[in-house]
């Protein structure tokens, strides 16, 4: 009875079309680089409106650290740059123009030298695909991680299989992993589904550890793997990358070109048929979905149904698009009932096996969730909150219908801890 001892939960969405067998290449006519106000990404544009930019050429530079740049997602003409107060990036839009070509980066001896590799990753924009925990930002250019986690597994509902994204690219993954060993003195964990090793330690380094992830969601999230194998702490950052991005580093080292696509699943209950596409980062989601959406109102989420946000563009590190009916919440409740519900916020959390499985049974779930509701950061940190990010608690939110949502509470708590520690 292995199912009895399997931890985590399967989240199934009713009426979802089955995943397709083939991958198609789909470059949308428009794309955009976006940032949320919370990310507080202050930038200096390196190009102007109507300029032609090659795919992979730098277009934005961080004002905090000019070494960090963001590159163009496709060969394009710049359609517009929207900056908020304080030069915060809101959105930078591009129109697809094939004639602009691809930008080749100078690789030099980046495959053997740590400083040159850092410079190459920063200059090619791949640096911003790395996420550093605690706090979940892209790392400071001088930060040395205590460990790196490479995620070749994804258990979010309707997520594409990262092994599929790596099709025939295990060589690139291997090169990328070898490059990562230059960035840290600590272990590199390759999290993958059970089965044969994608890349063994013998081919990369003795510091490579292969982690076989057998559980259901949330075990395919980096947060729980980091919590289990190498907890992040302040002063002991842990980096996390998607396996496809590691393969992109390998490709960059071999060719000098930044990968122009990523594997994205386009699915959800409001789709007639699901798609598996290779599209550029920041792709226009309407362009990816319009001919397959069921008639009627729908909401397009960048990300899975659990943690996704309604968006016009494929944001950040997302590798899936979910189209759902916006009206899943049913009719509006009676005003008296909603007033009662609002009056009793935060809603009490009742321990149940479902809620426990929502954190994979990896930690004393109720104690952590109660510490979050009460704002008790000391207990939350003791129980491992610094390894987690808001996406890791979206399953608990889904299961318990918590209000205010636990993931937002964790976000707020992490922001407070970061402010206290002046990071």
């Amino acid at each position: 009875m292995p199912w009895l001892f399997r931890s985590g939960l399967e989240v199934s969405l009713a009426d979802t079309p089955p995943a397709p067998g083939t991958v198609e290449r789909a470059i949308t006519e428009e794309a955009a680089l976006t940032a949320t106000p919370e990310e507080d990404f202050r930038v200096e544009p390196l190009v102007a409106k109507d300029d032609f930019v090659a795919q992979g050429a730098p277009v934005l530079r961080s004002r905090r650290d000019p070494r960090v740049v963001v590159t163009a997602p496709m060969p394009a003409r710049v359609a517009g740059i929207d900056l908020g107060p304080g030069h915060r990036l809101t959105r930078m839009r591009f129109f697809h123009e094939d004639s602009a070509g691809r930008h080749t980066h100078e690789v030099g001896d980046a495959a053997g030298d740590s400083d040159a590799l850092r410079a190459l990753l920063l200059g090619s924009g791949l640096w911003t695909q790395i996420r550093s925990r605690p706090f979940g930002r892209f790392p400071d250019p001088d930060e040395e991680p205590a460990a790196i986690f490479v995620m070749a597994v994804d258990t979010r509902p309707l997520a594409p299989d990262p092994r599929r994204a790596l099709d025939h690219e295990f060589g690139a993954l291997e090169r990328g992993l070898r490059a990562l060993t230059l960035l840290t003195g600590g272990p590199i964990h390759l999290c993958q589904p059970p089965g044969e090793d994608l890349v063994g330690p013998a081919r990369v380094s003795q510091r490579l550890k292969v982690v076989k992830v057998a559980g259901a969601h949330p075990w395919g999230l980096a947060g729980f793997q980091i919590h289990r194998h190498f907890p992040a702490e302040i002063g002991r950052p842990v980096w996390e990358l998607h396996a496809e991005d590691v393969a992109a580093i390998g490709d960059l080292l071999a060719t000098g070109l930044v990968n122009d696509t990523r594997l994205v699943s386009v699915s959800g209950p409001a789709m007639r048929s699901a798609r598996l596409v290779r599209c550029q980062p920041g792709a226009d989601l309407r362009g990816l979905t319009w001919h397959d959406v069921k008639p009627g109102p729908h909401a397009i989420l960048s990300g899975s149904a659990l943690e996704g946000r309604e968006s016009q563009w494929l944001t950040g590190r997302d590798r899936q698009v979910t189209v759902i009916d916006p009206d899943r919440h049913g009719p509006r409740p009676h005003w008296f009932l909603s007033a009662l519900k609002r009056a009793s916020r935060p809603l009490p959390l009742i321990p149940s096996a479902a809620l426990e499985q929502a954190t994979g049974g990896a930690l004393p779930a109720m104690s952590l969730l109660r510490a979050l509701s009460a704002g008790d950061s000391e207990t939350a940190v003791k129980l491992g909150a610094l390894s987690l990010l808001s996406e890791d608690l979206t399953l608990a939110d889904y299961v318990s219908g918590a209000d205010p949502s636990l993931s937002r509470l964790l976000d707020a708590m992490l922001a407070r801890i970061a402010a206290e520690e002046a990071i």
Partner: protein
């Protein structure tokens, strides 16, 4: 973006559904008199829930029905209406509503009400439960554990201690049905029992151990009083059991991860 359904009222309804075999067996055996008793307690508990909703904007909960059922089954039979209203009100208001309603309370309201009645009216006549009601505890426990609203670990902890006692030759108390009903209705309440894995094992074990000890050394008390006292002490100890479990978890984790 999407929302699941295990909120407070779902858990309360699942608990009610799990307890249904016990409630139905009891009602069938005891007849219309029991039904009237259940209606009385439902009325008193419901009235307090509605009052607190109007005065304090606290949403009422189906968990109030669980309290009423526990009281109807276990409260003394020969008390006057006034005493029963007083006891029920004390339990429901002081142990549940004053803390912010079900989900925020630290003690089970029915446990508190029964302990209150036991201390206030020690000479009252406690009810006995028919043996089939005791057997109905088994399906109730299974349903609750299958839906994850009653902790299987807690039940197994209690069973483990019973098994050890049987091996050691310690005599089981008579009227085992009462101890079983108190276990699933009061001790296994998810809100007031321990929440960690080890804590739940300890929680169940502590209840069974206390019940066995009281049955052996506390002479002159009715089994309901023994079981309720054991349940009260166990739920008071639940946070401590959780603390022990978490301290142990942290120690093991530090040793494993360095």
């Amino acid at each position: 973006m999407i929302r699941g359904l295990w909120d407070r009222e779902t858990v309360a309804l699942m608990l009610l559904a799990a307890i249904l075999p016990v409630a139905v067996t009891w009602l069938v055996i005891e007849g219309p008199w029991a039904l009237a008793r259940l209606g009385f307690f439902l009325l008193v508990a419901g009235l307090w829930h509605v009052l607190w909703m109007l005065a304090r904007a606290q949403p009422p909960s189906f968990a109030g029905a669980l309290t009423a059922l526990a009281l109807a089954m276990l409260a003394p039979e020969d008390l006057g209406i006034f005493a029963l209203v007083l006891g029920t009100s004390f339990g429901v208001v002081m142990a549940e509503l004053a803390f912010g309603g079900w989900g925020r309370n630290i003690l089970n309201p029915a446990t508190v009400a029964l302990a209150f009645l036991g201390f206030s009216f020690p000479a009252s006549g406690w009810p006995g439960l028919a043996i089939p009601v005791g057997w109905a505890v088994i399906p109730a426990a299974l349903i609750g554990a299958a839906f994850g609203v009653i902790s299987a670990r807690l039940l197994l902890g209690a069973l483990a201690v019973m098994a050890l006692a049987a091996l050691a030759g310690i005599p089981f108390p008579d009227k085992l049905a009462i101890y079983g009903v108190v276990l699933v209705l009061l001790v296994a309440d998810p809100v007031t029992s321990a929440t960690t894995a080890l804590g739940r094992w300890l929680n169940g074990a502590l209840y069974a151990a206390l019940a066995l000890m009281f049955a052996a050394y506390w002479t002159g008390a009715h089994p309901v009083q023994l079981a309720v006292s054991a349940a009260l002490l166990t739920s008071l100890a639940a946070p401590l059991l959780d603390e022990i479990a978490i301290a142990l978890w942290l120690t093991l984790r530090r040793r494993r991860l360095g």
